[in-house]
Structure formats: structure tokens, C-alpha cells
Symmetry: C2
Subunit: 332 residues, 2 copies
């Protein structure tokens, strides 16, 4: 595949990582250049870059840049490790960078580029494995598991891209995904750019359109998949999975192997990040709620394995019981 | 009860209806005065006033003001009838005004005031019938079925007010309720003013907090209840009802008899208003989505009667089978 044509949220060249600022899309398409690993860590925390696989790629480049700066590798990795707790790709990528031997700046840079390239290839493979699974009709997605959330191409949106390339006709119902609005700001933008039909809805409309028979499948990404198949993903995913089950609609998870964490036994072991209440009470500077109100803002939830029809990886499609099938695809 | 203490979204005196502008709460508490029935119709369409019972009250005052203006009663009623299709209280109030004989300005004014006062009394009765039904623990509500949605006191929030006055201790989880944000803007504000503990969440977080055991009941209002108990309410209500069922949490509907429409056989007969896509794509002037994207914006959904534990009215609590119990409370 030709990377020049590919939408990717990361560009790396000559010691500079450029990130497409996902906080201000789709109003502005602004790239920010980073030459300091501490600023890359901040960019991950602040969600300039987001999406589990993309966070992994950005952290890997962060290690390479830290090495170029002459910082101690342990310090660089510890700083990047402390950014966000839920997505396991972050830790997977940092562990892989840490294993690089010798840890020369050249080797680390090569490894980061490899992680990025392999992630793109994994997304294309996920797309090709997943596309035949989608039943005829429309598909719903939640959050952004697209090119913007990965090295490029996307996981859930990779499945959708591949299905479209295979000639399937459908509309993608896009949950806006409060509070950060990854659906309306990122997924809608990305699908529009790719010429895929979109119906943007607020998160609370999904049940209505399932009831009306307008949605035939759901496909989402993942931030961490436990050994038993329980899946942490953007807040709201668990609710969508329950609604899909209530309407007998298949609910698919699409994720690279780097998202599968065999060391986490089940969903109860996955740490759930709580973010600032301001994400809920404000849009930009505009207050949406009275000052001083109590707010909860968990960034993720856990969908139990029993609600998941299949987990689509770059090595194939895992089905229940996941304890067996995930081990097979992961260690094969 | 002393009305001077009561939060109400409507004030009427000497031929002027004042409405608390619910589009800009909680940023500003601004009252707008109306002396023309056509402007009142516009205020209903634009959601200066919203909430099924409050719309009924506003429309009744609109008829009284139209009569004072010397307009033809049939024209006044037709104009007000064409504002919003789903809430049946609008049609109920207009029918009641139309039956006034003789239809003198004085009689119509007296009837509008009576509709408003009776609605407040109905809310208090609903609160007192509903409060004992709430199990110990926290309660979730969706949209605003509070003082702001009624003549005053509220239906769902009336139940919550009465439960608190009865000494129950709980936190109210408030769905923000996209796209119009009735939860974060109105319910959070109203409960905060009343000293009731609030946790504001985005709509897609409800399932997570149910899974975590933090929500023990759900109570919502209604825009129209069909003869079989199927209930139209703010978009997202049906999803919350499904999530509550999946977690064995009781789901209550609180509404005055004026919301029960025995002429509508079931939910499939209730017209669902579709509103402007701009409500989804913008907050004020700020775009949240790419220009030109496809959008759906149904303002209501229908919760099937089988998901409703009880319907709380001012004449008592109706339970399944609703075809029998609603007729009893309504015509008794």
C-alpha cells in the first residue's frame, strides 16, 4: 500500500514527530511538531493524539526522540508510561522499545518506524478479515477506531473501509461520542473524506434506530482486551453492546494483537481512567452546566465477552470462548 | 402550597405571559414577555419553553392572550396546535380551552390559570405517589421532567423532590441529554438550586454506572403515553429503559393524566418529531462536526410498556397490564 495516500495521525522524519491535533479537528487541520519526548508525553495525556494503536506509535517515536535527545532510556520510558492507564498498546509499544538491543538512537528510531508500519499493515489485515463478517445493511460505530486512532487505515473503520472496497453498500451510523466527540469530530470527518455515507447521531439515539430496524451490525475498536475477551473501549461501548444484544444485532470488536493483554485475566482488572470534569461541563470555553455541579467522567467502560460476537485481529477472527481463541491468535 | 416559592417556567399577569428562556439556562436566567399568541407559538417551536406539561400551560395562556388580542379562536388554536407534534398535553390543553363556554377573554384567562395551577397540584400528587416506590440508593433521570418542564415542581423530579422531603438519601445521576442538553443545563441547575445531590454524566455513561452498582432506579417523564402504556419521551429514554432492564433496575414513568392519550392505541401511532440537524452539529455557533455531514435528529423515542415498572400519575400508580390500569386512573 502507498503510505503517501494514507490518512495517518502521525508523521515522522529526521527526529521530528508531527501529530495531527485531534482536539481541534474538524474545524482545523493543524499539525504540531515535537522534538522533545516530554512534550510527546503531554500530547498523549492531552489527547492531541488518541486511540490505542496511535498512542502506541506516538510513544514509540517518543522513545526514539528521547534517545536522540540523550535522555536516559529508563526516564523516557517511565515518563511516557505515566500518560494514560487504560490502552495497553502504550505499554506494549514501550516494552518492545525497551527490549531493543543495543538501544542506540538509530535502532530505536528504526523500531519506532517498524511499529508504525506494522500497525498500518495490521489494520489492513483486520479490515480484510472483518469485512465479510458484516451482514447486509447499515453499521453503527462508536468513538473513532479509524485511521486517526491508529498508524493509519483504522481497526473498526478498517473493517468498514474494506467492506466498502468489496462493494458492500451501507450507511455508517456514527455515535457522536461525548464528551470528547470523537464520533462527530473525527469519525464523521474521516468517513466523509473517504466517501463513505454517514448518519451522525447523538449517543442516546442508537437504541431508537436499532428499534426501527435501521442498524444491522455494530463494529468498534478496543483499548484493552483481557485474556477472557472482556474489552475496555471508549465510554458508551458497553451500553451499545447491551442495546445490540437486546435487538439481536451482532457486535464486533476490531483490534490488533497489541491490544490483547493476556496478562489481564478479565475486565475487572483493567484500570479505567477518570478524566477532568471540564470535558463534560464545557465545550471549549462555553459552559454547558451550572458551576460547581458534581460530575463523573470515566473515559472507558468494559464490555463483557458474552456480548461480543467476534474479535477481529490481523491474524484472524477469534470467537467465544475467548480464553482459548485469543491465546491461539496471539501466540501463534 | 405557596406558589411564590415555587420554581416555575411560566408567569402570567395582566395579559402578559413571561417564559424563562430555557435555551440559555443555566448561563443566564432571562425572562421573556409575550403579548401575542403567534410569538408564544414560536416560543414553543423554538423551545424557549419545553416539557410536555409546560407546553400545555403555555399554549393555554396563548389562547387566553389570543382572545385578548381579538383574534379568531379557531385561528389561535390552529396556530398553537401546529407547533410540536409529539407531546399530547399541547392538544389536551387546547381541546380544553376550546370547550370553554362562553369563550370570553375572561373565561379563557381563568381556564388557562386553572390549567397551570392544576398542573402544579398534579405534580405534587405524582411526587407523593412516586416517592415510596423508589428503592434505597441512587436514581437516574434523563432529560428534564422537572419544575422547568411543568407548571412547577416537576413529574420525575417531583418524585425525587418528594423522596428527599420524606428523608430518603440519594444522589441523582443526571444524563446530560444531547442534543439540547436538558439534563446538564436544566435538571442539574434545578436540582442544585433545590439542594439535591447531583452527578452529571454524559448519556453514554449510564450503562457503566449501572454495571458498577451505583444506580438503583430510573425515573423519567413522558410526552405521550399510549393506551397500552407505550411511552414517548425524550430521545434516549428507550435506551435507558433497555439498560435498566439488563441490570434489573426498575424504570418508572411519572406523568400527569393529561399526558395519557387513550385515543392512541400504541407507541407505533405516536408521531415522532424530527428537529434540525444543527442541534446535533453545533453548540451555539461552534461546529462539532464537518460541514455537510448526514445527520439524524429524532427528538423522541418510544419505550414499550413491557420495560416500564409503573406509571405514576396524580390519581395513583398504574402497573401492567396498562390497557386496564391506565383507563382506570384516567376516567375514574
Amino acid at each position: 500500500m502507498r503510505n503517501d495516500d494514507l490518512l495517518s495521525p502521525l508523521r515522522y522524519q529526521g527526529g521530528v514527530l508531527e501529530l495531527l491535533d485531534q482536539r481541534i479537528l474538524p474545524i482545523e487541520e493543524k499539525w504540531i511538531g515535537y522534538r522533545d519526548y516530554r512534550e510527546i508525553a503531554r500530547a498523549i495525556t492531552d489527547m492531541v493524539v488518541r486511540g490505542a494503536p496511535a498512542i502506541g506509535c506516538a510513544a514509540a517515536y517518543g522513545v526514539a526522540i528521547g534517545a536522540k535527545q540523550g535522555a536516559a532510556l529508563s526516564e523516557v520510558i517511565a515518563t511516557l508510561r505515566a500518560t494514560r492507564p487504560t490502552a495497553v498498546n502504550l505499554f506494549w509499544a514501550l516494552d518492545r522499545m525497551q527490549r531493543m538491543s543495543p538501544p542506540s538512537p538509530e535502532n530505536l528510531e528504526r523500531e519506532a518506524i517498524a511499529i508504525h508500519q506494522e500497525d498500518i499493515a495490521a489494520c489492513v489485515a483486520i479490515g480484510n478479515f472483518g469485512a465479510p463478517l458484516l451482514p447486509a445493511g447499515n453499521v453503527l460505530t462508536h468513538c473513532n477506531a479509524g485511521a486517526l486512532a491508529t498508524g493509519g487505515y483504522g481497526t473498526a473503520l478498517g473493517v468498514i473501509r474494506s467492506a466498502q472496497q468489496a462493494g458492500k453498500k451501507f450507511t455508517v451510523f456514527v455515535d457522536e461520542t461525548r464528551p470528547f466527540l470523537q464520533g462527530s469530530r473525527l469519525t464523521a470527518w474521516e468517513l466523509q473524506k473517504s466517501g463513505i455515507a454517514v448518519q451522525l447521531i447523538t449517543d442516546n439515539m442508537a437504541a431508537h434506530f436499532m428499534q426501527k430496524g435501521e442498524i444491522q451490525s455494530v463494529v468498534v475498536g478496543a483499548d484493552r482486551i483481557a485474556q477472557n475477551g472482556d474489552t475496555a473501549n471508549k465510554i458508551g461501548t458497553y451500553g451499545v453492546a447491551l442495546l445490540a444484544a437486546a435487538h439481536q444485532i451482532p457486535f464486533f470488536v476490531a483490534a490488533p494483537l497489541s491490544t490483547i493483554d493476556l496478562k489481564t485475566a478479565d475486565g475487572s482488572q483493567i484500570p479505567i481512567e477518570e478524566r477532568s470534569s471540564r470535558e463534560v461541563t464545557h465545550i471549549g470555553d462555553r459552559a454547558l452546566a451550572p458551576a460547581g455541579i458534581g460530575v463523573r467522567n470515566p473515559a472507558f467502560d468494559v464490555t463483557p465477552a458474552r456480548l461480543i460476537a467476534a474479535i477481529i485481529t490481523e491474524k484472524g477472527v477469534a470467537r467465544a470462548p475467548y480464553a482459548a481463541s485469543l491465546k491461539l491468535v496471539k501466540v501463534e
